[in-house]
Amino acid sequence: MVSYRFRFLVLVFILLAAWMLNVSLGSVAIPLQATLSSLFGQPLEQASWEYIITQYRLPKALTAILVGGGLSLSGLLMQTLFRNPLAGPFVLGISSGASLGAALLLMGSALLGQLIFCDFSLVVAASVGSFLVLLVVLLVANQVRDTMTLLIIGLMFGSITAAIVSVLAYFSNAEQLQRFIFWSYGSVGSLSWHQNSILGGLVLVGIVLSVVSIKSLNALLLGEHYAQSLGVSLKRSKLLIIIATGLLAGSITAFAGPIAFVGLAVPHLTRQLFSTMEHKVLIPAVFLYGAVLMLLCDAIAQLPTAAQVLPINAITSLVGAPVVIWLLVRKRKMLF
C-alpha cells in the first residue's frame, strides 16, 4: 500500500489539473484568471461568465468525473467477476440494454401508449434495460465457462438491440428519432446540479458496495472454486458485485448515454501504472484514472472556442479502441 502513495498523489494532482483544464475551456472563452477567481467565490466582472461556470461547466466537470470513474470501476468489477480481460459495460451488452430501454421509451411510446414523460422516465428505462441484460449475461455466464463465448454472446446482444432499435427508428417520427440519436451520442453536459446529485448518490452506493466486496473480489482472482474454499459465500458476494456493477453502469448510461471503451480500457491502463491486482489499490486508482480520462475527453469534445460540441462517444472510442489494440498487440494476450 505504502509504495503506491506517491503514485496516488500524482494521480490526484493530475485529476485536479484535468479538472481545471476542463472547467477553463469551452465554447465561450473565459480567461483562466477569471475562472480561478470564480472558483474561489469572488464575483466576476461579467455575470454571464459566472453563470456559465457555476451552472454549466462545474456540473459538467462533476458529471465527467462521476461518469469516467464510475464506468471504469464497473469495468474493473466485470473483469474480475467474469474472469475476462475484455469484459466491460459496452462489450457485455450492458450499454446495449440501456439503449434498448431508452429506445423503447423514446421511440416506442407510440406503441406502448402515451407514457408520462418526466425527467427520470428515461433514467429508469435505461437502468431497467441494463439490469435485465446484466442478469441474462450472468445466467449465460453460469452455463458457459468459456470466456470467448461470453464475449460473443455480449456482441450478439448488441446486434439484437441494434436491430430492435432500427425497427423502432423506422416507425418513429423525426423528433423522437432525434431525441434518441442525441442520447446515444453520449453527453456529460446536460445534467443539472439536481440530476448530478442523484447520479452522484447512485455512484456512491456503487463505490460503497465495491469497497465492501474488496475481499471477495480479491479471492475471485483465483477463480470461483478457490474463492469458495477461502470461505467466500459465492452467491452473496456475486450478488453484491452485480448490484454494484449494474448501479454504476446502468445509472451512468441512463444519465449520460452509452459511453464506449472507458470501462474496458481504463482498468488495463491503470494496471500499467499500478502493477498489482489488489483491489484495495485498484478500486481508487481506476476511479481516479477514469475521471481524468473523461475530463480530458470532454475537454476535447467541447472543441474549445468553437460553438459545436462533438459526441463524447466518438472521442472515447477514438481514444479507447487504439489503446485496446495496442495492449493486445504489445502484450500478446491481455491479462486481467
Binding site: V212, K215, L221, H225, Q228, G231, V232, T276, M277, F336
Partner: protein, 256 residues
C-alpha cells in the same frame, strides 16, 4: 483412540442426474498422506470437490475433525480445509506473494488487514517451498512446476489441518513429480497435516503414501499400500489385456 481428521462414511457423490461414485468409506488421522487412485472419470476429482464442499453430497456423511460437515459454515470450513485444484488461478497476473497472501483470507477481518501472525505464516510458507526469490514474479512468468509449488504454498499459508490436492503432479516431469510428492510427505509427517490427493502416479504413490483409496466403482478399497498389494487390489484397476501389476516391485508393466 486417536482423533480423526477426516471421516467419510458411505458417501455417494455426483449430480442429481447421475451418480458418479458411491459406497465410499475411509478415515484419516492427522499426519497421514493419502492418495486417491482410479481410472479417468471414476470420480476422483468429484470426491475431492465434494469433501471441500464445492459440490453437494448425494448421501452418506462427512466429518471434518469430528464435526459433521453440514454444521460447518463455508467460512468455518475454510479454516479446516485448504484446496489445490487442477484449474489454474483465474488470473495469472498476480505476483507470487499476492497469490500466497490470498491464502490468509479466512483468518483476516472484512478489510483483509494482515496481522503480524499472517505475515509470518506467509513468510514461512514461502520459505518452505523455496519461493523467496520468486516472490515478486508474476504467475505467468513461472514454469508449471514453480506454479504448482506456489499453489501448494498458498494452501499451506491457509494454515488448515487438512489439505486436498487434485492431481498436483500433472504436466510435471519425473524429477518435479518426485519433488512435489516429497514435499507433500514432508507436510504430512513433519507438519502433521492430513493430506489427501488424487493422482495417476500409482507407483510413486505406493512408495510414499501412508494410505491409499482405490476408486473402482464397486468396493472402493482403502488401506495402506502394501495391504492393498497383498489383497491384489491393483491388478483389477486397469484392463488386464493392456497392463499387469507386478506385486514384487509395486509397479505396472506393459503387456507385450
Amino acid at each position: 483412540m486417536e482423533q480423526t481428521a477426516l471421516k467419510i462414511q458411505n458417501l455417494g457423490i455426483g449430480y442429481t442426474s447421475r451418480v458418479v461414485a458411491q459406497h465410499i468409506n475411509f478415515t484419516l488421522i492427522p499426519g497421514e498422506l493419502c492418495a486417491i487412485v482410479g481410472v479417468n472419470g471414476i470420480g476422483k476429482s468429484t470426491l475431492l470437490r465434494s469433501i471441500a464442499g464445492l459440490q453437494p453430497h448425494l448421501k452418506g456423511t462427512v466429518e471434518i475433525r469430528q464435526k459433521p460437515f453440514e454444521k460447518q459454515a463455508v467460512s468455518e470450513r475454510a479454516k479446516e480445509i485448504a484446496l489445490v485444484l487442477t484449474e489454474p488461478p483465474a488470473t495469472r497476473n498476480l505476483t507470487v506473494r499476492e497469490l500466497i497472501t490470498l491464502g490468509r483470507q479466512p483468518h483476516t477481518n472484512w478489510w483483509g488487514t494482515l496481522t503480524k501472525a499472517d505475515t509470518t505464516k506467509i513468510r514461512e510458507s514461502m520459505a518452505l517451498f523455496s519461493l523467496e526469490e520468486l516472490a515478486s514474479r508474476k504467475c505467468f512468468e513461472l514454469s508449471d512446476g514453480q506454479l504448482q509449488r506456489v499453489l501448494i504454498a498458498r494452501a499451506m499459508a491457509q494454515d488448515t489441518p487438512i489439505i486436498l490436492l487434485d492431481e498436483p503432479t500433472t504436466h510435471l516431469d519425473l524429477s518435479h513429480k518426485v519433488e512435489i510428492f516429497k514435499r507433500l510427505q514432508q507436510l504430512a509427517h513433519v507438519h502433521h497435516k492430513t493430506i489427501l490427493f488424487t493422482t495417476h502416479e500409482i507407483d510413486l504413490a505406493i512408495q510414499l503414501c501412508d494410505k491409499m483409496l482405490i476408486l473402482d466403482g464397486k468396493e472402493n478399497p482403502f488401506a495402506a499400500p502394501c495391504e492393498l498389494i497383498e489383497k491384489g487390489c491393483f491388478e483389477s484397476l486397469f484392463p488386464s489385456e493392456l497392463v499387469t501389476f507386478d506385486a514384487a516391485t509395486g509397479s505396472f508393466k506393459l503387456k507385450k
